[in-house]
Symmetry: C2
Subunit: 215 residues, 2 copies
């Protein structure tokens, strides 16, 4: 049975671009995987705690030596790693806040990276390799090559490195210039913004369109 | 009266490199500013909450329309912005976790960025400009040009952009390869690690050494 893990992290509820895109992707996945099951986690409205000293020490000590706080943090890591292990596909809605990933997404990654859970303790191999990891990203501006703020999207730049040790390899589908309609000084960019959104939607609709349909 | 804001964020307590460096810098600052006062905030052991929908909405609505949750988040932003405004110098200990800033540092920045508090609502000018902002950074590996993981330090790359709207301009003093002594595969890098640490300490000791001493 195919299984999907669907994660959101935006704080903007119904106004969120990444929530709209991840919902579209989840719908497309469901249509292509009849009978498939879904786990949903909302890092935006129900964030994981920041990692603590107990999280760090739990990674340096064998589980049988954990204090209660270390054991609790390790159990949370196990839960989050198992959620990913049980999924064939992971969808993550990733907005850009102050030019970085939401702190809740950083927390998710920090809890997820654990030798003995997501990384093999002997070989250092990533134990989450081979998953389909689709990131539905949005950014209010445009930070491509040649723009005045080239390289200011530090969420997309960081995430592949942040999860690399686990074997996860994010594929990004990104809508940019999403603030163009709301910001008068960006009015000239509205056509580009619409083009970017349409391209993102097309990429989502094409994700599982090659799955054979019963005749 | 000179005032210092000293922030730490490492989870490693006494073993933290950034805590050692920021403490050395705070000592140097105190020595050069007799009678100066210090505010200390520990983002590592006492992290700020992740920003929430209330944080986001508090930034879109006039204060008199805030719900209690929005008012509480806005009050926290005011507190954090005032801490920075009251300081002449800010020291921040910044470790690198999973190739990014600690989520607690991202949260601090997210709470700090607020039009009407740290950014002028009319002119968009950064209201925290002109502060001395020294970041004591550490990274376990080496991510300089020409290394296999060139560009994997996404904490130093992000922070100047993350706080740019406020006018804060971080100056980095960085110790790298700090895991060289602990990791057998990095043993050959121990001399470079020692050199990097010595250079960081020298830069700290020189920070306020030109302040005239009474004869």
């Amino acid at each position: 049975m195919a299984h999907l893990l669907h994660l959101d992290s935006s704080l903007l509820g119904d106004r969120s671009v990444t929530r709209k895109l991840s919902a579209r992707a989840a719908d497309a996945w469901r249509a292509a995987h009849p009978g498939g099951t879904v786990t949903y986690r909302d890092l935006g409205s129900d964030p994981l705690p920041h990692v603590t000293e107990a999280t760090a020490l739990a990674r340096m000590l064998p589980p049988e030596q954990h204090t209660p706080a270390q054991a609790a943090s390790w159990a949370l890591s196990e839960e989050l790693v198992n959620e990913v292990k049980q999924a064939d596909t992971i969808l993550l809605g990733l907005p850009l806040y102050n030019y970085g990933a939401p702190s809740s997404v950083k927390s998710w990654v920090d809890h997820l990276i654990a030798i003995g859970l997501s990384i093999d303790a002997q070989t250092q191999a990533g134990l989450l390799a081979g998953k389909e990891f689709i990131v539905l990203a949005a950014r209010g501006g445009g930070y491509d090559e040649g723009t005045p703020r080239e390289g200011w999207d530090h969420a997309e730049a960081w995430l592949p490195h942040g999860v690399a040790a686990t074997g996860l390899e994010p594929r990004f589908i990104t809508a940019q210039l999403t603030l163009a309609e709301a910001q008068p000084f960006m009015a000239a960019l509205i056509p580009l913004a619409k083009e970017s959104m349409a391209a993102a939607e097309r990429q989502i609709d094409d994700l599982w369109s090659l799955v054979p349909v019963a005749a």
